[in-house]
Amino acid sequence: MWLDAGPLDSIPRRGARVLRTTQADIALFRTADDAVYALLDRCPHRGGPLSQGLVHGRCVTCPLHDWVIDLATGEASEPDEGETATFEVRVHAGRVLVRAIDAAAFDGRGR
């Protein structure tokens, strides 16, 4: 199932919005060149809200302890280790669509 998160322009360039779903908060990022990524809004380090971080290139820096997370893979950049869950996301007819979450996607990941 796909969720409609609204028009692309509701996410600022080099910024993020939080998508509240029943299972979890998903952070939607839009890079300077308009690529959109969706991650579980929890840093793999201590659970910081990634949506509140600073977006640069294809990365976001966690606001709590400066871990740098790759938006496409959810992986922390070296030398930190860990990853957070990613979600399939598309821009279709100007709207951001996120693949609905399967609760299992969170178990044991992104923690």
Partner: protein, 826 residues
């Protein structure tokens, strides 16, 4: 991305410390630009030559000092030709070849052939048992000849000779050092320090022949005819020897370069981009000569490696302008440090300290209020600090009288670091932000072979957040690595995205009228098009400071606290601190805060250290609502989240206190009204105390006022952080108006000169109190101009960010998206 044509070919000749470091730097910058082939005459990967002496002394094994094994090259697709010496460069055909005729073509060639040890042209130097000291093979030869009770003669009492002598002695040999001069290590030490060194080495059992010249090396009789048996000195004395080590100096290895016609003097000549006269050929390391100088220590070679990598990566902006060097002798238990010009000339002065009882000697050479050179013997903990002062040309007038006693005796902010780190246990926490302890850092430095602050940051996270522990980490590096501490280049780039320093960036902004972050990045050729979380907030501040009222703030270049105008807490909620002017409130205000706290179910209300009330645990989406209510009750933002003016702490002063001399509360409120809303390189706190009892703790604030009967004492540069720093006394003034003008001028000077994330304490230590006094106190015109610029900036800055957000600005920062079911995308 590079179009899919054949990649360029890069050949490195010399698999040593400088060449491989250059490749490492290059791979960081441009991992895919080249097919790389490395030729090394030695038959292994790359090892840390500096640590040969510990191997000789059996304190380390060869394995311990490997830097990159064969797998490292393989994993990066680098072809390693270990044990293959390049004998010919065909510059016209762009090809190198080895003795067996194999070879490789290149588009770019990097020469890093190091040095060759000098062999004295005396009779017998070809005998078996005569070795030089340069590579692991030499160490193996020495180890093979060494056995308890055997005798070794080391020719040369310089750094290498002494390290060799020490290592051989540790292997049980009876060692004599023959040295040409009266002073050991005469290129690094003056006579008193050299004498102390010799005496302490003699006490450990080494023998010396000073001012002595080796005339011949003599073979043994009969079956030992090809082997060394003794060294004859000029004057006739003979020293029996089973092993002779020649450590009389090195010579840049230019044979290959010279043979292919590259201009060489002592070394291969290179320009500031490390390019030789052939534009396709670069050179780095001990084999080069740059602006007349050849270097024989790794720190400058690593700087060269950075520059050459930058050019090979086709960024083309880095320049090498020469290095200052420092030396430490790596003989366990003997502490010697030396840097710069350590012999005073007519225009310079010497500061010396001697404590014969403790065996301590220190000498600093000072010229034009700057350190020019240093020699330390017996107590070298402050070596790194003196070297930093020397390299950064820090003015020392303000603490000259305490200089020789070391950093611990000089007013010291948290960022400057402390040698106290030596005495800390391994479990001591060094970086509070990231919870990294001393043992962890030291282990990472040794196990992962880290050389620089940046590497330690990357691997341990220490000092990568607030950075207040940077000085401690640098000290740990220096202590752990000893002689091979590669001091970070004096020119520290802002972050990994650029080669430019904070100062260069700020200068470019004003000089070339750059008015947006992207303009700065384009003009200065940023490596990452988007920058990172370190440079973007800094650039945003620099632009804001340079173009008040004109520059449009980039909220996406502000970290979350400033973007959301509240403090993010560990659980992702926020805390809100309304401004309470001068710390004075009223029942009406208190009631309003209490009502609002209840309305938004604020779990904790806390009085802060700055006499404000902190509402903790607010959900982000409630922020605009709580701000609207606070605004309605007359509050504005307290900026407790920002690199900004935070609070002005006050005492009750003359109005109530029986000791009060002036109305400190009212003055505090005036100051806060004047300075609120101002953005700074770091947080800024003020305080006003009504008398020298100093109840407002004004002498640990960035700007503190202590009222006295006859006026106001102004104090600056205090800091209550991890390492407390008391203020320096700036001046005394007579009126409140003067207090305000000095305060504005001081803050503006800090805004204009402080590096982003550098607190006033660290800034003042960097530029010197006299500089600040000169601009803010002595020169009335300068003070008034600074104050004028501050007022102009304040005209635009004093806008309550809460009110703007409460009325809808940046609304999508605070409102989450609610999902709706969507049709399956095509």
């Amino acid at each position: 991305m590079r179009p899919r044509r054949a990649r360029r070919r890069l050949v490195l000749v010399g698999n040593g410390m400088a060449g491989v470091r250059a490749i490492e730097e290059l791979l960081e910058l441009a991992p895919n630009l080249y097919d790389i082939t490395v030729y090394g005459a030695e038959p292994h990967g790359n090892y840390n030559r500096i640590l040969l002496s510990p191997v000789l002394a059996r304190e380390k094994t060869f394995d311990d000092i490997m830097l990159n094994r064969a797998e490292w090259y393989a994993e990066r697709g680098i072809t390693l030709r270990a044990g293959a010496e390049v004998v010919c460069i065909d510059r016209a055909g762009r090809r190198v070849s080895t003795a067996d005729g194999s070879g490789a073509p290149y588009d770019r060639l990097l020469l890093a052939t190091g040095s060759t040890p000098i062999l004295l042209p005396i009779p017998g130097s070809e005998l078996d048992g005569v070795v030089t000291y340069r590579d692991i093979r030499d160490v193996e030869r020495m180890a093979a000849a060494a056995a308890p009770g055997r005798r070794a003669v080391v020719i040369g009492g310089g750094l290498l000779g002494l390290e060799a002598a020490h290592g051989l002695q540790k292997r049980g040999m009876d060692v004599t050092v023959v040295h040409l001069c009266e002073t050991l290590m005469e290129r690094q030490l003056d006579a008193p320090a050299g004498d102390l060194l010799r005496r302490s080495l003699e006490e450990r059992g080494l023998n010396f022949r000073m001012a002595a010249r080796a005339a011949a090396i003599l073979p043994g009789p009969g079956s030992r005819a090809g082997r060394v048996a003794a060294v004859r000195l000029e004057g006739g004395e003979e020293l029996a020897a089973d092993l002779v080590v020649m450590a009389v100096g090195i010579r840049p290895n230019v044979a290959l370069a010279r043979a292919c016609g590259l201009p060489c003097d002592r070394g291969v000549l290179v320009d500031d981009t490390m390019q030789t006269f052939d534009p396709a050929i670069y050179a780095v390391g001990e084999c080069v000569q740059h602006r007349g100088a050849c270097y024989g220590l790794v720190a400058p070679l690593f700087e060269q490696a950075k520059v050459v990598a930058n050019h090979l990566a086709e960024l083309g902006i880095a320049r090498y302008s020469g290095s200052a060097v420092s030396t430490k002798l790596k003989v366990t238990g003997v502490d010697v440090f030396s840097a710069g010009d350590f012999i005073a000339d007519a225009d310079s002065e010497e500061l010396t300290f001697r404590d014969a009882g403790r065996g301590v000697y220190k000498k600093l050479v000072v010229k034009d209020d700057r350190i020019r050179g240093a020699v330390l013997y017996g107590d070298t903990v402050d070596g790194a600090w003196y070297f930093k002062l020397m390299r950064d040309a820090t003015p020392i007038a303000d603490f000259r009288e305490n200089l020789l006693f070391g950093q611990a005796h000089v007013g010291d902010s948290g960022t400057a670091g402390a040698d106290a780190v030596t005495s800390l246990p391994d479990s001591a926490e060094i970086c509070g932000c990231n919870g990294v302890c001393k043992g962890e850092i030291v282990r990472a430095i040794t196990a992962k072979k880290l050389f620089t602050l940046d590497e330690v940051r990357k691997h341990t996270k220490a000092s990568s957040s607030c950075g207040s522990c940077t000085g401690l980490v640098e000290q740990l590096l220096a202590n752990t690595l000893g002689g091979d501490y590669s001091v970070p280049p004096a020119k520290k780039p802002m972050c990994a995205c650029t080669v430019h320093t904070h100062e260069e960036v700020r200068q470019a902004i004003t000089e070339y009228g750059l008015k947006t972050i992207s303009a700065v990045m384009r003009f200065l050729e940023w490596k990452m098009p988007d920058g990172c979380h370190k440079c973007r907030p800094a650039l945003n501040f620099y632009l804001l400071c340079a173009w008040p009222g004109e520059y449009e703030d980039d909220r996406h270049s502000r970290l979350i606290n400033e973007r959301a105008h509240a403090n993010i807490q560990r659980d992702g909620t926020y805390s809100v601190v309304p401004r309470i002017w001068g710390g004075v409130t009223s029942p009406h205000e208190l009631r309003a805060i209490a009502d609002i706290a209840e309305k938004y179910r604020v779990p904790t209300v806390k009085v802060t250290g700055g006499q404000r009330l902190d509402l903790l645990g607010v959900r982000k989406e409630d922020l605009p609502k709580i701000w609207r209510d606070l605004n309605a009750a007359g509050f504005v933002s307290g900026h407790a989240y920002g690199k900004a003016l935070r609070t002005v702490k006050t005492c009750v002063g003359k109005e109530w206190c029986r000791f009060g001399t002036q109305d400190s509360t009212a003055l505090g409120i005036r100051l806060e009204r004047a300075a609120w809303g101002s953005w700074h390189p770091h947080k800024v706190k003020l305080a006003v105390s009504g008398c020298p009892r100093n109840c407002a703790e004004a002498t640990i604030k960035d700007f503190g006022v202590v009222c006295v009967e006859s006026g106001y004492e102004l104090h600056v540069g205090g800091n209550g952080g991890m390492k407390v720093r008391a203020t320096d006394f700036l001046c005394k003034v007579e009126t409140e108006e003067q207090v305000l003008e000095h305060c504005g001028a001081f803050l503006q000077l800090y805004r204009e000169e402080g590096r982003y994330l550098e607190r006033t304490a660290a800034w003042i230590e960097r530029v010197g109190l006299s500089h600040v006094k000169q601009r803010v106190v002595d020169d009335a015109a300068s003070r008034s101009a600074l104050h004028g610029r501050f007022l102009e900036a304040q005209r635009h800055a004093q806008v309550d960010p809460w009110a703007e957000r409460a009325s809808g600005k940046d609304v999508n920062e605070f409102v989450p998206l609610e999902p709706a079911r969507a049709a399956e995308p095509a």
